[in-house]
Symmetry: C2
Subunit: 208 residues, 2 copies
């Protein structure tokens, strides 16, 4: 599921004539522009100018600004959790929390800007859900399934259905509550205090 | 804490010459305009026109658009959880989840719009934190403290520090993951599946 391109992506890929190197260059330029200006102020004109390509090419290739931006984000692999398999569910989730927290801190402005814009822009919201949240969610789901198969989590434990909103929620909510990002240590502590006790069915150890 | 006005609010109150009825009328007009146009498109000019008051009065009275909007929201008591005291922590939190979910569904567009705008508008973000999140958080903290005093939760349980981000996070994250609001039943099930097991130290019952 994580790596299955959508029909639209397949259609575009089959049409493309640009090289992987050129594609990577374009994505880098989009991320640069996003960091400089934010999503709302980013225009296809600016991307075309910065990358010396035509706007028509950009639209033909990516369909919309939202899809180009998410493709660029996904190319940068902000979370990059696909290879995690530590042998225990707690180990897997902690490593995912660490990497996600690190990515969220490095590119908080960029990711926040995208999340904000996505709430008002349906095209961007669907691209984000399809190309970012769903693939990362599928990786997390596989880790949960391994935990169930190893007997670490009861297959009927209802917490299994809430791991993604709990972690994504903590990531988004912290900056609203206090002036701080949800970094790796915060997410890991949240995981150890709330998510893992609910999943593994034992009280969290009191941290000192 | 929930009811302590800020210094700025006190300063404004001491200056005010408008009656409570007039104030309520103004807040209603602001909420109406917010539902019609959203935060970004709402102008102090429009509030002045709709309420037949002068812009100078609005600024003198509330300081900024952000503060006026949050005062109007707070006046509408969107969550209204102050009186909850069921005798058990689970009962208190479930009732809070039900009311919060109901409010979030009734005024989702409005609350989402505010949350979105708050991420780019520091004045609005501080007003939201000070006048909405902190007071509701204080009510929730009192419920947690009663749970500790009754011996339902161990005072060192680290989950105590994450109840607010967990619930606020679930509220915000669900619409990003699926096209659905975090309504009362969703929040209550999240609470039963994740937050209460972590707090009370027993596995969640498998729901049928």
């Amino acid at each position: 599921m994580a790596d299955q391109p959508t029909d639209a992506a397949l259609r575009r890929t089959s049409r493309t004539k640009i090289t992987p190197e050129r594609e990577a260059e374009l994505y880098e330029a989009v991320l640069e522009l996003l960091r400089e200006r934010g999503y709302d102020a980013l225009t296809m004109d600016a991307v075309a100018a910065r990358t010396r390509s035509s706007k028509a090419t950009l639209y033909r290739q990516w369909g919309s600004k939202g899809q180009l931006v998410i493709a660029a984000l996904r190319h940068g692999k902000p979370f990059d959790i696909d290879d995690i398999d530590t042998g225990t569910l707690a180990g897997d989730l902690r490593e995912m929390a660490r990497r996600t927290g690190r990515a969220a801190c490095e590119d908080t402005e960029l990711l926040q800007g995208i999340t904000v814009a996505a709430r008002q822009d349906e095209d961007l919201r669907l691209a984000m859900r399809e190309l970012l949240i769903r693939p990362e969610g599928a990786v997390l789901d596989r880790a949960l399934r391994r935990g169930v198969e190893r007997g670490e989590v009861h297959p009927d434990n209802p917490a299994l259905g809430y791991v993604i909103p709990a972690l994504l929620g903590a990531l988004i909510a912290r900056p609203l509550i206090e002036d701080d990002y949800a970094d790796g240590p915060y997410l890991e502590h949240f995981l150890d205090s709330v998510v893992l006790p609910a999943l593994l069915g034992r009280p969290a150890p009191a941290h000192d």
